[in-house]
């Protein structure tokens, strides 16, 4: 961590890290404690604006918006986490194997990736989700699949560049096995490229989940997420309650701003 700071001593990294840590920290606390039960309705406190009692106001059912945002952001972040974990994991695995060994398998897998990237990823995810139906697990699966090619591509490029360097030749000569060369010799050298990609992946995953759910193909109606809430909140804008949509939108904006600043900061070495 200390080294990371020394290496990326720029404002993008600092601001991005602070913003991300704050937002994620608040959301994690929200998983254990919220000021109100996110689903508790209070007829006496319907559609109120922000106040000391209800920090971000209440909706038409008298539910505390702040508590609901905490819960929704938690769901969105959890989805983003698994999307990036699966997408980056599979992408790194495919990229490492194809980049290191090359050959026919490389050709086949990379052409499949080309085919996947030929479609806009959000469109592809939309179609897949429209077929599969909404639900948290479907969102994770589809988005992870759509995310694989971008990770595979950058990891492959790094592996095929690094495998030609002398220190890899040297490791082969020392009798180091292929798996160990890939994991212990090459992979650590891909981190300067992989870390920003993961950070930007988070950014894209949050945004993609929000868009999917906003359009009604993301998480199912009974589940909560930021995109779902944004979709619900649009009904309130014209009824004189713009703050609901504004606060949900602001949460999404701050989350992705944090991740993208972090990604930008990680790319700039100092």
């Amino acid at each position: 961590m200390k080294k990371l700071f020394a290496k990326h001593n720029n404002w993008f990294f600092k601001v991005g890290l602070i913003l991300t840590v704050c937002m994620v920290g608040i959301v994690i606390i929200g998983q254990f404690w919220t000021p109100y039960d996110p689903n508790a309705m209070d007829a006496a406190a319907k559609a109120q604006g922000p106040s000391l009692k209800h920090l971000l106001g209440t909706d038409y059912f008298g539910r505390d918006i702040f508590s609901r945002i905490l819960e929704g952001a938690g769901a969105t972040l959890l989805i983003a986490f698994f999307v990036v974990l699966l997408g980056a994991g599979m992408g790194t695995l495919i990229g490492a194997l194809t980049g290191y060994f090359g050959g026919v398998v490389d050709e086949i897998l990379m052409r499949i990736c080309d085919a996947l990237t030929a479609f806009p990823s959000v469109l592809l995810a939309l179609i897949a989700l429209a077929i599969l139906g909404p639900g948290r697990l479907n969102v994770i699966g589809v988005l992870a699949l759509v995310f694989i090619p971008s990770f595979a591509r950058i990891v492959r490029a790094e592996f095929s560049r690094i495998k030609k360097l002398n220190y890899v030749s040297l490791a082969k000569l020392q009798g180091v096995g292929h798996l160990r060369i890939m994991l212990r010799h090459i992979l650590p050298n891909t981190l300067p490229v992989l870390l920003p990609a993961i950070s930007i992946g988070f950014n894209n995953a949050v945004l993609a989940e929000a868009s999917m759910s906003f359009l009604g193909v993301g998480v199912s109606a009974s589940e909560v997420s930021l995109g779902r809430m944004l979709s619900d909140s649009q009904n309130y804008i014209l009824r004189g309650m713009p703050w609901y949509a504004i606060f949900v939108g602001l949460t999404i904006a701050l989350l992705i701003l944090g991740f993208s600043l972090l990604g930008e900061g990680l790319q700039q070495e100092d």
Partner: protein
């Protein structure tokens, strides 16, 4: 030579070529190595000299097993041949510390436990003119000469009897060159090593080698004892190289 010497490497009739297709569809066969044969004996430093494009690095790659396809046979009579590369900047893993880089070959050998490995690494660092303070450093914190010392240490830790040195000093300053050459000569004495020393610089070869092979365009044009090559070169190309180095 009268006395019988033990072979450490035997190269017989090694050829390799690649086909190049011109835009007009004609295929051209480009010979990189053409019928190269030589022996390397125990305790000997053999210089391999030639200009760039003479095939000397390709030959080294074939000897080290990095060349997937070639004709002829290469026979090693020793285990774990090692290499010291020309470019000390890509020879060491930039993401790792010197300790990790030096420990890796020992882990693969599986002969020593943790303390023994550490002791051997420290001992080897001292032999190549460095010390324990380098253990925690990354290659980026070292100079070219220091990196080459680490490369030599890494090679020696594999306990080889034969090392290929591919232009090990040509990327270094002249003063550092002399230091590294001296180190290579010392290590040769200490460990009874054999070298295949590749260089384009006759002067450098003269300082370290007992025998020289001169290559040009994939062919061996002359082979002989170092003094004979320097004082009475037979082939005009060798004469050219010797003249250029004076």
């Amino acid at each position: 030579m009268a006395e019988e010497k033990k072979k450490i490497l035997e190269v017989r009739n090694v050829s390799t070529s690649y086909t190049r297709k011109s835009p007009l569809g004609k295929t051209k066969i480009q010979h990189v190595l053409h019928d190269v044969s030589f022996d390397l004996y125990e305790g000997e430093a053999l210089g391999l000299v030639g200009e760039s494009g003479s095939g000397k690095t390709t030959l080294a790659r074939a000897i080290l097993g990095f060349l997937p396809k070639y004709e002829g046979t290469i026979t090693h009579y020793s285990e774990h041949p090692q290499v010291v590369f020309q470019d000390p900047y890509t020879a060491l893993n930039p993401a790792r510390t010197i300790e990790w880089i030096l420990e890796e070959p020992l882990k693969i050998l599986k002969k020593y436990n943790k303390e023994e490995r550490r002791a051997r690494i420290v001992d080897m660092l001292k032999r190549v003119g460095l010390d324990e303070s380098y253990l925690d450093r990354k290659p980026s914190q070292l100079s070219g000469g220091q990196r080459q010392r680490v490369s030599i240490a890494a090679a020696l830790l594999m306990e080889p009897r034969f090392i290929v040195a591919d232009e090990p000093v040509s990327a270094l300053d002249v003063t550092i060159q002399a230091q590294i050459l001296k180190l290579l000569a010392e290590m040769k004495e200490q460990f009874g090593l054999s070298y295949l020393f590749i260089s384009h610089d006759m002067n450098v070869v003269y300082q370290l080698c007992d025998r020289v092979i001169v290559m040009r365009k994939g062919n061996v044009v002359e082979e002989g004892e170092i003094d004979q090559i320097f004082e009475a070169p037979k082939h005009p190309y060798t004469r050219e190289l010797v003249e250029a180095s004076k």
